[in-house]
């Protein structure tokens, strides 16, 4: 019985694929709020995956519009796209995605490079959102970050987080971090730094209480990141970061996003829908960080050995 239905599903999707390949070109309409290198890379990644999956040349109509940074134009682009009746709308960044979602309840919409899709009301839930919308979130993947710290320190018991409680973004990262850490049996110790001049003291508060320091993508902490690094060296507590840029400034290691790869992960979702899956049944994907930066010099100065496995995986090693 079950086997039968799977067989049917496969047959149906093959049929759909064949008909879409032969009958007419698939039409993928993409839009972004503004043109900048990261968002352009997302678009190029999507297109590459489509080409690799056999949607290329005459089989694919791929359009791209930029709203020039103006939400009013984003709204106009959304209406135009809906009127053109593409097979899929791909909307890059929050305002473009919101405009597309409010313009169509029927055409599948795949969003990308949106940090908080539930907060932006694009989908009601991340698991099987149920509507015509799904996509990829580039929220900081704290689980992956904790796993990386654990690779360096297999006996990791506690992590210290200096952050500014006034930054909404940091608060949500710390909340997510606490949830992920308790699953892994790790304790999170918070330390508040409302101003960049408080960062040094806030970090010192953590010394002796934690095995490692983890800095979220917090503007206050990042702007005074050197003070965190200094405390890390003085107290031999390794400092990890949520963004790869900070590794060059002295963090031991970080996993981050490569936006071209975000585009490729979005492209995978687009291809699944083109092959017949319903967007409402596809979970919103938390993007996997694929670029790993390691700073071996800082690892040595903070007294932590770099595991061979991490070094082999690293996309950039700073010596």
């Amino acid at each position: 019985m079950k086997l039968n239905s799977i067989y049917k599903a496969v047959a149906l999707s093959t049929l759909l694929l064949c008909s879409s390949l032969q009958a007419k070109a698939v039409y993928v309409a993409t839009t972004a709020i503004v043109e900048h290198p990261a968002l352009d890379a997302v678009r190029d990644g999507i297109k590459e995956v489509l080409n690799e999956s056999g949607y290329a040349g005459d089989n694919l109509k791929f359009t791209y519009e930029s709203a020039q940074g103006q939400p009013a134009i984003a709204a106009q682009i959304a209406r135009k796209m809906v009127g053109d009746e593409p097979d899929i709308i791909v909307a890059i960044a929050t305002p473009s995605a919101q405009a597309a979602v409010s313009a169509s309840k029927t055409i599948p919409v795949v969003f990308s490079a949106v940090t908080d899709p539930v907060g932006a009301k694009l989908v009601p839930t991340l698991i099987q959102p149920g509507s015509n919308v799904t996509g990829l979130s580039d929220m900081v993947n704290v689980k992956q970050h904790l796993a990386l710290i654990k690779e360096f320190l297999p006996n990791l018991k506690s992590v210290g987080v200096p952050y500014n409680p006034g930054e909404a973004n940091s608060v949500s990262i710390v909340t997510a971090l606490k949830a992920a850490a308790s699953e892994m049996g790790i304790k999170v110790v918070e330390s508040a730094a409302p101003k960049s001049s408080d960062v040094m003291i806030a970090t010192k508060q953590l010394v002796g209480k934690v095995d490692a320091i983890y800095c979220p993508t917090d503007n206050t902490i990042i702007s005074a990141f050197e003070s965190v690094v200094k405390v890390g060296i003085d107290s031999q507590t390794p400092v990890f970061a949520a963004d790869t840029g900070s590794v060059e400034r002295g963090a031991v290691a970080a996993v981050g996003y490569d936006y071209f790869d975000l585009g490729r992960q979005t492209g995978d979702i687009v291809v699944r829908i083109l092959k017949g899956e319903k967007p409402g049944m596809i979970d919103v994907k938390m993007a996997d960080g694929t670029s790993l930066f390691v700073n071996t010099k800082m690892a040595a100065r903070m007294g932590v050995p770099v595991p061979e496995a991490v070094l082999a995986r690293a996309t950039k090693v700073i010596k």
């Binding site: 939400p71 106009q76 209406r79 009746e85 305002p95 409010s102 009301k121």
Partner: protein, 301 residues
């Protein structure tokens, strides 16, 4: 252009028609170049969206959004009149301050309304009209009523006094008109209309965003000038409605530019194409009248 795209063009055109009327009041009636609108558009949207998410009545939220934007206009007028700060600079100061205030009001850079009730919810499915058509009719009614009310107001004794202040401040004062009061009322009215436009935009498009006001003044001014160059008239009724027509034509230009990719244009060329189309719309009536004048000359000679 598809029907759907055309309806979208009309909808956004009508909403920005309110901005155009507001800009007309400051720039043309009061002769007060007011850049506050870049901030008050977002303020109207931010206040309305935040209140709706907090569970307030949608009409009440829209009203408060409009009033908040009016207050922004009053602030600009106060800086100018009370402290003699140059009008342009006073409005830039308010606009700059509003960026922070908008972020504070929303508590984050973007508030979503996609799944919230909006001012449009009670009218959904009315007379069996599709949502897209209903949205256009709704904003059209708002824009036209606003235009007619503004035209009526400017034709009253009070409105005439306000127009006198704009055309000759000293003369107006000599005739016993209280100049400062007219400027306060004019800026509050203008920014209120712009804030209302922001509130409507947030509700028809499902979000308020801290960047949504950027360039509002440019769009509003372009709409005013397009409208006036097409309908040269001194009647307030015609002028107010021509602001809306100008705004729609501006959106048509954007829409045409969006459809220009078959000519080999790229997505990043959008602003240039829009500017060229608007320039053509402005130049054409002038060229035509020059050509006519030349012909008349030829006939006489």
């Amino acid at each position: 252009m598809s029907v759907f795209a055309f309806l979208g063009t009309l909808e956004i055109g009508f909403i920005y028609g309110l901005v155009a009327i507001g800009v007309y009041i400051t720039f043309r009636i009061l002769d007060f170049p007011d850049l506050t609108v870049d901030g008050s558009f977002t303020l109207g949207a931010a206040v309305t969206a935040t209140l709706i998410v907090a569970g307030q009545n949608v009409f009440f939220a829209t009203l408060l959004g409009t009033l908040a934007a009016s207050c922004a206009g009053l602030l600009t007028a106060w800086l100018n009149l009370r402290f003699n700060i140059l009008h342009l600079l006073a409005s830039i100061l308010t606009m700059t301050a509003l960026y922070t205030i908008n972020l504070r009001v929303m508590g984050k850079p973007n508030v979503a309304l996609i799944m919230e009730p909006t001012i449009l919810t009670p009218f959904e499915g009315m007379f069996g009209l599709p949502d897209m058509v209903m949205k256009v009719i709704f904003v059209a009614i708002f824009a036209v009523i606003a235009a007619l009310l503004v035209a009526w107001f400017l034709n009253t004794q009070y409105g005439l006094a306000m127009r006198a202040v704009g055309s000759n401040k000293r003369m107006a004062q000599a005739n016993g008109i209280v100049v400062t009061e007219k400027v306060y009322i004019g800026l509050a009215l203008s920014n209120g209309l712009v804030g209302l436009a922001g509130a409507l935009f947030a509700q028809t498009n499902g979000f308020a965003d801290s960047t949504m006001g950027i360039g509002t003044i440019v769009v509003g001014l372009a709409a005013v000038i397009i409208g006036q160059s097409l309908f040269a008239s001194r009647s307030m009724w015609v002028i107010a409605l021509s602001c809306i027509v100008g705004s729609i034509l501006y959106r048509v230009a954007v829409s045409l530019a969006l459809n220009a990719d078959f000519l080999g244009f790229k997505a990043s060329d959008l602003n240039l194409i829009t500017a060229v189309l608007v320039a053509l719309a402005l130049v054409f009536p002038k060229l035509r009248s020059e050509w006519k004048a030349k012909q008349a000359e030829g006939n006489n000679g």
